[in-house]
Amino acid sequence: MGETVIRADQLSRTFQTVRALDRLDLEVPAGIVFGFLGPNGAGKTTAIRLLLGLLEPTAGSATVLGHDVGRDSHRIRERAGALLEHPGLYERLSAEDNLGFYARVWKLGAAACDARIRELLEPLGLWDRRREPVGQWSRGMKQKLAVARALLHRPALLFLDEPTAGLDPVAAAALRDDLGTLVRREGVTVFLTTHNLAEAERLCARVAVIKQGRLLAVGNPDELTARRTARVEVTGRGFTDALLADLGRREEVSRAVLRDGRLTIELTRAGDVAPLVSLIVQAGASVEEVRKDRASLEDVFLTLMEEDR
């Protein structure tokens, strides 16, 4: 693993009596899409605001791109791009003017600015509509434009705060595809907050799960899913209560239930299911099909939320 782009050390933020972020320890390596997952109100947006130096921590510290969030936040903002909770576009202005303004902010020269705008808008399918006022656009188009704006100055780090929230499934899928393509092409490190787990599974090389400001788990999606419950579904006949009880007593089984004639066995850890199948057969049941489901990131997420309750 290469250079660390974000390092948070016991980073905390309290709003009056609410602890929005609670002693967050985090390391984000360079060059990956890092997913920061959590339900609404978990502290994801607060974390981004703290890392961009838009809010001051009440305790702890963090460095982003080697700069302290308290002392050198202006240096972080110079090298980072952000698509925050809202697209943040000037709706009276055209797409070209929106990007033109931020190109001036980041001191891109006129020629470089024109070329860069074209380079970003063409793959997003927005180039031909660049002179239209943004206020007339759909939410999906605005989000795409906001992504282009965030990438305009070739940032080393990109913060994306729930980029597909509020989009219809088609627009969300299109934006996800475009995001994936752009991020690969630009080679930028991405800090992505989302509660869309399919999105995280698809885009992220590493994820952290947060709830009520506290970090519950961190790792790459495969590691996290491997650590968690897998499920085995057995189709057949002759599944008795005694068999269910026998299965339930085994160490690797957390639960065995019969639903619509199908036996579902939830495992405490991933592993070999052959001993379970032989137990079922020895108990006199006939097995037609055994299907082993790998835990998804969603399963991991829901289990973590459940465990923390």
């Binding site: 838009l54 936040s73 952000a82 909770e85 576009l89 009276r92």
Partner: protein
Amino acid sequence: MRDILTVMWKEWRELLWHGGSLRGGRLSLVVLLGVFGVLLPYQSGREWLTSPGTMFYWCWVPLMLVAGAIADAFAGERERHTLETLLASRLPDRAILLGKVFAAVAYGWLLVMLMLVLSVVTVNVRAAASGLLAPWPLLFPRPFAVGAPVLALLGAGLAASAGVLVSLRASSVRQAAQSLNVAILVLMLVPILVSQALSDATLSQLGAWAASAGAWRIIWVVAAALAVLDAVLLAAALGRFRRARLMLD
């Protein structure tokens, strides 16, 4: 300085380009220029250039123009959810604040200058049409010609620096605009109320001082007072502008 100009560019673009075209912005400009540059001067004729009462317009108009623009500065960005993105950019605090203040001042002041020039043209055209003889051209008296731009600039500065303080705190553009309009109304009423509260003897003493001081001295005293007020309010706005505080507001 470049960052300030960048913010000014954006503010001007938003002020003048309504809905992606100049049409909406241009229309309101035409109405303003029409009223203060053509209609009123045409009705008043030569009086428009010589009456001290006209000075009242050139104090009041920039205040109104700037108040409308500056109310939107932060309250509008907050209302339209563009503020956080702006704050997340590399722009320094000072450039954001001063860019917005200077854009509003320049907008109000340049419009007033246009109105002044247009009103001179209108008065002269009317005089020519009515067959008035020399001296040509009819112009503002010199103290007025110098004083009006200076006072309009400082008046615009007063409205902008007070307005930006209001806009920083307001939750909506409407709230900011209402607060500013009330403040301007109070500002306009204060001299009237004070003059009513003063005794006749004091008023005549003041009148005598004004007559002996002359127009130049009065203009510079007012200009100095406005400059001090502008500086104090701008310093207060710069002190109030903190990214973290704006996020919490």
